[in-house]
Symmetry: C2
Subunit: 219 residues, 2 copies
C-alpha cells in the first residue's frame, strides 16, 4: 500500500457525474446512480486501510428532490443500498438529513443516531435529503439557539467534525451546499472523471496533493 507523510483526518466525498456518465454510455440519466455504489465502497475500504478517522459522503439533497421522479427513485435506492452495505461492515455510521419529508428514505431512520456497525473503526457519515439551510436552521427551528449562544453548536450536522479534504468527482469546482460549516477550512480537490469512473489512482493523487498543502486553519 502507498504511504503518505500526512493524511487528512476527515475526508468529504462529492460523488458527482452519475447522470452525465450514463448519458455518455447511451443509458437513461437515472441509470447512472447504481454504478456509483462500487466507487463508494472502494473509497470506504481504502480509507479503512489508510486509517482515516472520518469519511462523509454527499448522498442527495433537498435541492435534488426537484428532479424527475425516476431519478429520485434511483438515487434514493442507491443511498439506501450504500448505507445498508456499510452497516454490514465496520463503521460508526451516521445519516444526516431532513427526516420530516417524504423524500427521506425510511430504511435510513435507524442510522440518524450514530450506530456502531461491526467493530466501528471509522466514522462514516452519509447525507440523505440534506439541505444546507435546513442544517443551519435546525436549532433555530427548535428554539434552542439561545441556550448555546453559538449557531454552529446547534446545527443538525453538529456530530460531523471539521473536514480537512473534500474530493469532488465530475469536474465541478463548487461545494453545491455541502456542509458549509465543516468546509470553511477544507482543501478542495477536483477529479475531472465522473464518479462511476472512479479508480483508486484518482484518490491517491488527491492524497498526494493534500500532503503538500500548508495547513493554516485561516491563520
Amino acid at each position: 500500500m502507498k504511504s503518505f507523510r500526512r493524511l487528512p483526518q476527515h475526508i468529504g466525498i462529492i460523488p458527482d457525474g452519475n447522470r452525465r456518465w450514463a448519458q455518455h454510455k447511451g443509458m437513461n440519466k437515472q441509470d447512472g446512480y447504481e454504478s456509483g455504489l462500487r466507487p463508494g465502497l472502494e473509497v470506504y475500504e481504502l480509507c479503512l486501510e489508510l486509517g482515516i478517522k472520518e469519511l462523509t459522503f454527499y448522498g442527495f439533497t433537498v435541492d435534488n428532490t426537484k428532479r424527475p421522479s425516476a431519478q429520485i427513485r434511483a438515487f434514493r435506492k442507491a443511498c439506501v443500498d450504500a448505507v445498508e452495505y456499510l452497516a454490514s461492515k465496520d463503521a460508526d455510521l451516521l445519516v444526516v438529513g431532513n427526516t420530516q419529508s417524504p423524500f427521506f428514505p425510511k430504511a435510513l431512520l435507524p442510522y440518524t443516531e450514530r450506530t456502531r456497525c461491526g467493530s466501528g473503526r471509522i466514522k462514516v457519515n452519509f447525507l440523505a435529503n440534506y439541505g444546507w439551510n435546513w442544517d443551519l436552521n435546525y436549532a433555530a427551528r427548535n428554539g434552542t439557539i439561545g441556550s448555546s449562544g453559538n449557531v454552529v453548536d446547534g446545527i443538525a450536522s453538529s456530530d460531523i467534525s471539521r473536514i480537512d479534504l473534500i474530493i469532488r468527482w465530475g469536474g465541478g469546482r463548487r461545494l453545491s451546499g455541502f456542509l458549509p460549516i465543516q468546509s470553511v477550512y477544507a482543501d478542495f480537490y477536483v477529479v475531472d472523471e465522473m464518479w462511476p469512473d472512479y479508480c483508486s489512482a484518482q484518490f491517491h493523487k488527491a492524497l498526494e496533493w493534500y500532503q503538500d498543502q500548508d495547513i493554516t486553519l485561516g491563520g
Copy 2:
C-alpha cells in the same frame, strides 16, 4: 474589450500570496501587502467596464490578527488605502467585519453602512476583521434570531448577496472562512500566481472558464 456569453453577477476575490511573493523577492513578509493594492484597483476597474453588479474582496480576518504585529499593521493599512481609494471612485461601498475589536480600522467605520461613492454603479464589499463564526452568530448574539426564524437572514453579512464566482490567487484551493453562506453554490477558480503578480489575463481566463459552467444552484 473582450466580450463574454455569460458573466457572473457577483464575484468574490481571495487575494492570497502577498507574503510568499515578498519572500520570493527577498523582502520581508509584511512588505507584500502594499503590492496588493494595484491588483485590487485593476480588478475593480475591469468589473466596472464589464458591468459586473457586485464585487467582494477578502481583506483580512479575525484569524489573520494572530500574526506578527508588523504584518497586521501592513495588511490593515493596505485595506484602509484600498477602501479610501474606492471611495474616491464610483462604488456602493460596504465594509463588513467585527467593529468591536481594536483590530478593526477606525478609518473604515463610515463604510459599515452601505455608502454611495461617486455615481455608485457597482456594489463593492470589503471584508475587514471578518470572521465566519462572528458572521453567523451576529443575530444570535443580539438575541434577534427568533424573530426571523432563519439563521441566514440574521448574519452580519446579510447585505452581501449570493456569490457566483470566487477567484482565489496564490494557488490555495480552499475558502479559508470566506463568506460560507454566500459561497454555498459559488464556482471556485484558482489562479496559481500570487496576488501581487495579478494581470488581467488571469481574470479573463477565470471569466472564460465561468461562462462554460452549468449553473444549477444545487438542483
